[in-house]
């Protein structure tokens, strides 16, 4: 069902955990649908120094969290914003069609964390929209 890359990222996910003094935290999804992703970002000088996650969800949800956080570390905020779910899926060598929503969730989680960072620091990130309010678990 899953590619080798997905299984690697699921079995040995990178960046699991929290960041105590996170610059921004984003949480998306809801337990009703079976997926919650919480992403922590450490941002310095507009660069993402660290990213961590906690995820409740299926194999694809955990693997996309792992991959998405890996892909944004070291990137600028603007670059992180431009990370699409498609890029995450490609980096994982694909996902089954019914699992594509997990990659969307990962994209949204990163955006939500960036939104939180922007709000806290009272800055504007061009092209960033407010996260949907569906954390209803």
């Amino acid at each position: 069902m899953y590619s080798k890359k997905v299984m690697e990222n699921f079995m040995n996910p990178k960046n699991v955990g929290e960041i105590d003094d996170a610059s921004g935290i984003g949480e998306v999804g809801n337990a009703k649908c079976g997926d919650i992703m919480k992403v922590y970002l450490k941002i310095e000088d507009g660069i993402i120094k660290d990213a961590k996650f906690k995820t409740f969800g299926c194999g694809a949800a955990i693997a996309t969290s792992s991959m998405a956080t890996q892909m944004i570390i070291g990137k600028t905020v603007q670059e992180a914003l431009e990370l699409t779910n498609k890029a995450v899926v490609e980096a994982l060598d694909g996902l089954p069609p019914i699992k594509l929503h997990c990659s969307v969730l990962a994209e949204e989680a990163v955006h939500a964390a960036l939104w939180d960072y922007a709000k806290k620091n009272n800055i504007e990130i061009k092209g960033l929209k407010p996260p949907k309010e569906d954390i209803s678990h």
Binding site: G34, K54, G57, A60, I62, K99
Partner: protein, 397 residues
């Protein structure tokens, strides 16, 4: 790594003895049973012998057993066939909220075609509430369909009571016994079930063959139209190897059943106790007493079922979950929701179903690795975090 197979409610391996019986019917006695030459009369007799073997297991008459392509077809035939044959008497039909989709979706189909459906609620152990059944029955009720035993949580329904209620009111009673057949004894002379569905691959027989018991005198339309097979009730060239395999599988399943079940129940209870005693924040699902001998079902809070299955799979264990992710839909199992679980808890369920070939070592291995896997997933879970921080439990049931 050899798989430790703990998903016998999904399907089972075909036993060697069964394959051996099937084999000659592929290319030696391959004749079409409707033909009159020798190799065909051999297939014909093989079918009739199989019918007798299966009937005798249920204390039924051979003429009451009709072969189908599996549990789904049996369910569809039983429900659509009785609905259409009896619609002049009424168009109200009843089923339970914990049925397999083969029953539920067939009722939904009928409700789109002019029938009115009542879905009976169940108690927290998954049992149909008898009072609700009595209340639901109307003058125009023509069919009640309640499964013998549940495929997810293993709960055995009060079939005797339900059948008596239907008999008193002359309502046709169908029971989807796909999970019960091969696991527990069913006496169709004693129990007034009119229609009973079964599927061979659930008791170490082949996939793609099943049967419908139709009690003599039950008014039911044909479902598959065509040739004169199965006493003109079910058309289509008979799956001779499948039918022969089904008969052999059912014989083997009912041989020393009590003895074998003792062993399986011991393993089942070892798993149940092992999980209860070694893993916190779990919920046991299904009826503790009226339960299939081979079924274990637990919800593990704060984690999601598919990840659990994937980790078990990496350790060589095959099991199942009521998680939405494993079904390809968004909602978790309707059975778990029907017994009152929240979506969140339902997502974290694990079903272990045993088979005759499972060994105690396999159970021990499961109990040894499961706590660590659950903990690993909880350590990744934001819900577990919340719980630890004391803000969580209010949300998760």
């Amino acid at each position: 790594m050899k798989t430790i197979y703990f998903d016998h409610a999904a399907t089972t391996p075909v036993r060697k003895e069964v394959i051996d019986k099937m084999y000659p019917f592929f290319n030696e006695f391959y004749g079409n049973p409707s033909s009159i030459y020798d190799i065909a009369t051999i297939s014909k007799s093989a079918i009739e012998d199989s019918r007798k073997i299966i009937a005798s297991v249920f204390n039924a008459d051979a003429g009451e057993i009709f072969f189908t392509s599996g549990g789904t077809e049996s369910d569809n035939w039983a429900i659509i066939g009785t609905a259409l044959a009896n619609e002049k008497k009424g168009k109200h039909i009843i089923t339970s909220s914990v049925e397999h989709h083969a029953v539920l979706h067939t009722f939904e189909y009928l409700s789109r075609h002019g029938f009115e459906v009542t879905y009976l609620p169940v108690d927290e152990n998954g049992k149909v509430k008898i009072d609700e059944l009595k209340k639901a029955i109307r003058k125009d009720t023509i069919l009640v369909s309640v499964m013998y035993a549940n495929n997810e949580i293993g709960t055995i329904q009060p079939i005797e009571e339900i059948s008596n209620i239907c008999k008193d009111r002359k309502i046709i009673f169908h029971s989807d016994a796909v999970q019960a057949v091969g696991q527990i004894r069913i006496d169709l002379k004693k129990t007034g079930i009119d229609l009973l569905s079964m599927s061979a691959h659930k008791f170490n027989g082949p996939k793609g063959v099943g049967a419908l018991f139709i009690r003599k005198g039950t008014k039911i339309d044909n479902f598959l139209h065509g040739g004169a097979q199965e006493n003109k009730r079910r058309a289509g060239t008979e799956n001779v190897p499948g039918i022969v395999g089904m008969a052999e599988a059912i014989s083997l399943a009912y041989e020393n059943m009590e003895e074998k079940n003792k062993k399986i129940i011991k393993l089942r209870d070892k798993i149940i106790d092992g999980i209860k005693n070694n893993i916190p924040h779990v919920k046991f699902n299904g009826d503790p007493v009226d339960r299939l001998p081979n079924n274990v079902n637990f919800s593990f809070r704060y984690i999601e079922g598919e990840s659990l299955l994937l980790m078990l799979n990496m350790k060589g264990i095959a099991a199942s979950s009521g998680s939405a992710c494993t079904s390809g839909s968004l909602d978790p199992s309707h059975v778990l929701l029907s017994i009152g679980l929240s979506h969140e808890v339902a997502h974290g369920s694990l079903r272990i179903t045993l088979g005759y070939e499972n060994k105690e070592e396999e159970v021990d291995y499961l109990l040894q690795i499961l706590p660590g896997i659950v903990q690993r997933l909880r350590d990744m879970s934001p819900l577990y975090d919340e719980f630890l921080k004391g803000e969580g439990d209010k949300n998760v049931q």
